[in-house]
Amino acid sequence: MNKARLEKLKESLNHTDVSRRRQAASMLGEGDERAIYPLITALFDQSLAVQDSAAQSLIKIGGAAVAYMTIPVLRKEASQRNAALLILKDLGEVSVPFLYDLLKDRDDDMRKFAVDLLGDIAVGVNYELLIPMFKDENANVRAATCRTFGLLNVEEGVSHLKEALSDSEEWVAFAALEALGLMESEDGVTSITELCYGPSQVLKFAAFETLGNIPSQQSKDALIECTKTTDFITKSAAIKSLIRHGIEPGMAFLGSDLRVMLKNDDWEDKLTAISGLSTIKDKDSLYNLLDLAGSLDVSYPENEERIIIIKNAVLNIADCSSLLSLLDVNNLKFRGMAILVETLGKLKCVEAIDPLVKLLRSSLRDIRREAAHALVEIADERCVDSLIEALSDDDGHVRKQSIYALRKLKSKKAFLPILDLIGKDTYEDVVDEGVKALLSMDSSKFLHKADSYPENFKIYIAKYAQETELLLDLSKDNSKTVKMAAISRLGSLNEESAYNRLSELLKDADLELRRSSAMALSQYSVFVDGLLSAVRDSDMWVRFYALKAIAASKGADYIGLFAEALRDRENLVVMGAIDALSNLGGQDAYEALYSIKYHSDDAIRQRVEEVLQTL
């Protein structure tokens, strides 16, 4: 920066307009050491914006001269002092030698600032010069020294920090604890443990927390010991620390404390307790856990996640007998009961069949649903009669679940009741499930009268049946919807007769049937001769699906067809042809695509350009 410009900017620092002053302070950051003094002066500007710009510029210039000239600002007013602290911290290692001089300053705060900054900078610091600060007459300086040794993480500081744990001032001991925790100092465990039995509740609490930060068996043992002797508030800190260490299944003695913690208002405590109870598999907590889940209002999003956590804990802790004993507890809230029932199902508790069957008659719909679902999970022959009875439940979900359970059991006894139910059920998903069940239970018996079934039965039969002849018949059904359902299955059969039928359908007068047929062939990548004429169909969708089917099956043999389709009048077909050629690659594909590089449609031009770049 030349002298004239520097002088002009210095002058602007005194301008009446704040924005001019701020701008000048900012631009001086481009300068050299000659800009330092004016910028230091600007730290005292009445505008915070100017002060801030000056601070940033000083940091930008950097170097020992800035550090040297910033040190005296620490003695000024709060605003300038804070700016100086920020500058010295940001300058880093270059500030360090100037801070040593402050360690012997008469002003307590200067000594504290110096110690704090040395900890924050933490690079190139000679910690030995800081050791005497542990004995400083001012407690704030002693506390700052503890913090700084924690940040510097020097082994040689541990003995001093241990000594500081018995400082007459609680703040110093607290800072020493924090530092030892930060350093994860195993060497400090014995001294920290002594504070667990001391008179100060705050230090006791902090000691427990600190032991949680030191990953060693000794600190874990100390925490276990401490949990036996302290009051509840500090004990909960010890338990949290133990859980951080990872408690073991054998620590059952924590059960009662964790159950108390579960009742705390604070959710962090509750979640810690749930995690601990789950680890030690505390069966005595099952009622409390279910009760807690039952009391949660699911309209709050965070409660959904909490319910999942509780459900997982219950599943981990419970066994069949402990849950069965809770089924008779009358005051369990309904959601708690629903989780209990769900867990019985997940654990496949055969002993729970009778009570679950009883619950299938419960007045609460959600409980009936869960009971049906649990019986599905258990899937035992002994629940067949009850499940058949549940087919007449008022709730469609319960009926569907019962059908599902009976399907899993492949119970022939349930065949007629299910057939009877789906003949009159108003819910399509129940009919769908019913058809699936009947096909699985006795396919030939069910399909024996297929012709006489209503349209919706036939649609679901077309969706799930495996018999080629039956599907071929259904593809000729009087109902178009049934026909289309059957056509979409034919492509998946890998049978020549099925493919012949689809080929034939590609020439059908009905547009929708041609489309369904082409779509079925494209979905399963089947090639039939009929596709070669379908690419010239009057309907763009038939042409599109026909191209897709050919591309997926015998693409390389019919590259000419795709080249021809590039000139189709419909963009959809052109895009389909571009995709097919893109997948094929090679010189012929490139040339075909290049021929429409200047297509009249923007989207097609762009797509061709993209593909050409990849070929």
Partner: protein
């Protein structure tokens, strides 16, 4: 009572928080003046304890800002700092602080002061 602790030092926030909890209060924490103002918008507090030296907005600036704001001017604000200096104390009081406490402070002293400042209010 809900009490806001404004301090850039984590250890100070923690120890003051434990003291306040021990006195039966609920602490709310902020790292500097700007953070405090943001948190005051969503927390109704009965008292503010603020440090003097903090980056971004120091204790004096925070005091001035709050005492000139209609919504916050009635919340008692106590400066709590390491600076045991009469000049600093005068500046804090001139800015509108209701009290000035010097660190380190014991739990008893803190909670007695909390009681006094909230009673006056």
């Amino acid at each position: 009572m809900k009490i806001m602790v404004v301090d850039d030092d984590k250890t100070t926030r923690k120890i003051l928080g434990l003291y306040l909890k021990g006195g039966g209060h609920e602490p709310v924490f902020a790292e500097n003046g700007l953070d405090a103002i943001e948190k005051l918008a969503v927390n109704e507090v009965d008292l503010i304890l603020t440090d003097l030296n903090m980056p971004f907005m120091d204790g004096i600036e925070l005091t001035r800002t709050l005492k000139t704001d209609h919504s916050f001017k009635d919340i008692p604000l106590v400066m709590i700092t390491t600076e045991n200096d009469e000049a600093e104390r005068s500046k804090a009081m001139a800015a509108g602080a209701n009290g000035y406490l010097v660190k380190p402070i014991s739990a008893d002293t803190l909670n007695k002061n909390v009681k006094n400042f909230t009673k006056k209010n």
